[in-house]
Symmetry: C2
Subunit: 299 residues, 2 copies
Amino acid sequence: MSILVVGTVAIDSIETPFGKRDNVLGGSATYFSLAASLFNKVHVVATVGEDFPKRYIRLLEDKGIGLEGFHVIKGKTFRWEGKYEYDLNVAHTLKTHLNVLKIFDPVIPPDLRKTDFIFLANTDPELQLKVLEQMRGPSFVACDSMNYWITHKKKPLERLLGKVNLFLLNDSEARQLSGEANLMKAARLIVSKGPKAVIIKKGEHGALYLSKRSCFLTPAYLLETIYDPTGAGDTFAGGMMGFLSRAKRTDEATIKKSIIYGSILASFAVEDFSIKRLARLTMPEVRSRYDIFRRITKY
Amino acid sequence: MSILVVGTVAIDSIETPFGKRDNVLGGSATYFSLAASLFNKVHVVATVGEDFPKRYIRLLEDKGIGLEGFHVIKGKTFRWEGKYEYDLNVAHTLKTHLNVLKIFDPVIPPDLRKTDFIFLANTDPELQLKVLEQMRGPSFVACDSMNYWITHKKKPLERLLGKVNLFLLNDSEARQLSGEANLMKAARLIVSKGPKAVIIKKGEHGALYLSKRSCFLTPAYLLETIYDPTGAGDTFAGGMMGFLSRAKRTDEATIKKSIIYGSILASFAVEDFSIKRLARLTMPEVRSRYDIFRRITKY
């Protein structure tokens, strides 16, 4: 059971209180696929421009990531420039150059249309719907979104939510979408609108999972060193979906365990800039941190 | 094994986004003892003025709380006026009338000097030290403090910390005391300064426990209804110490379980203004919420 992710592959420039990096590899599909590839085969559907460095393509290939749907087209790669203050939960966007993303209209290669696990990374919900229409009965679909689409494309977003197994969003997005300050009420409202389940990510404060049958609360792994929170949410999703697809199960107990794996993967991602930590991460390291996490949360 | 708490019994006026209550029962020793009394015998050492309503004394008596060290003296009761905005983690003090607290110099009744479990609620660390000197070899001492003492009485506070088993404080106090933004580093620094263990309370985001041998992370019970967060920290301490003294054990496994009980007790306390919810709380309700909490945090 392999995984398909449709999202962005980007060139980021990032400043945090701990340093600054220009023109580094970023994008939702990048973080997601690097995390998920530790567990299972991942195929990326994304578009970059001719300026996209070859070494980044080699990096993805070396991780065994399927690039059948990865296209290099005329133009420049999507670029994001962001800054974080000491509150690392909030990203301040300095510049966004959509570039090739302006004409991003993903066509899923025929061989990938039967993929079982689909992650629709944050993008226009109308595009996310179009991707879903191309798929042939996936067994598990998860999606992400952001405040911009909640404000400007609420209707298509709600249509999309009716078709997914899992909707991942952060706490402020959950409050915005539901109009509820209380996260438990927000989660209930969101689940009543369509998705089979929701995960509200609270950054360093952990995550809340709610489905019609079950609820799960977990703290985040408490790190002493955080350099760059970029991509933590997509890495979380990658760890989760990687674990689920490897387990070949999506029952509530497996989902809970996958949330811990997602959280562990994200805890590694933020330990260095860009995808540096993820790129050198190994499965024994993941398992070892999972064991520590179990020990410090068990009672 | 009974419990002794030295702290305040107060008259509060509280405003939250959900309502306003004037002249209601408050104070650290009040919240602590109501929570702990569900588990075990608690003795309160505190001082109030002649204006203190008799019905509040009857309320404490009805809960079986020992009032041998509870004194009504000439003058007025300590009064606190506070307000919370939507961020219920931050209390804004509008007025403080110390009144009889100005001459609070607790003398522990001889019969109580051998009490095993001691909670030194937030007050001048020099007073907390004087209380401790009166005790005869307690088996477990916990204490609380606040930003004011960290700023103005750091030396006596550090002397006190060297003598306690457990220091409870909230996240902003931990950052202030340690000079560390990262909570894990802050916890390590605090433990290196004396207390056998520290609990950093993060309000709705749960708590972090650290001792020299062990670490424990827990989310808070996610409530849909929060009316008044006043006293949540003292209630947490009361639930913890109540559970520990009832268990007659203070090993790490029992402490972890007691932290969950503390968190559960606090989750009830905030469901109504003042001590209203605590005053009508029953042990079956506590056990039932503990079971729910276990279910939603287990993986």
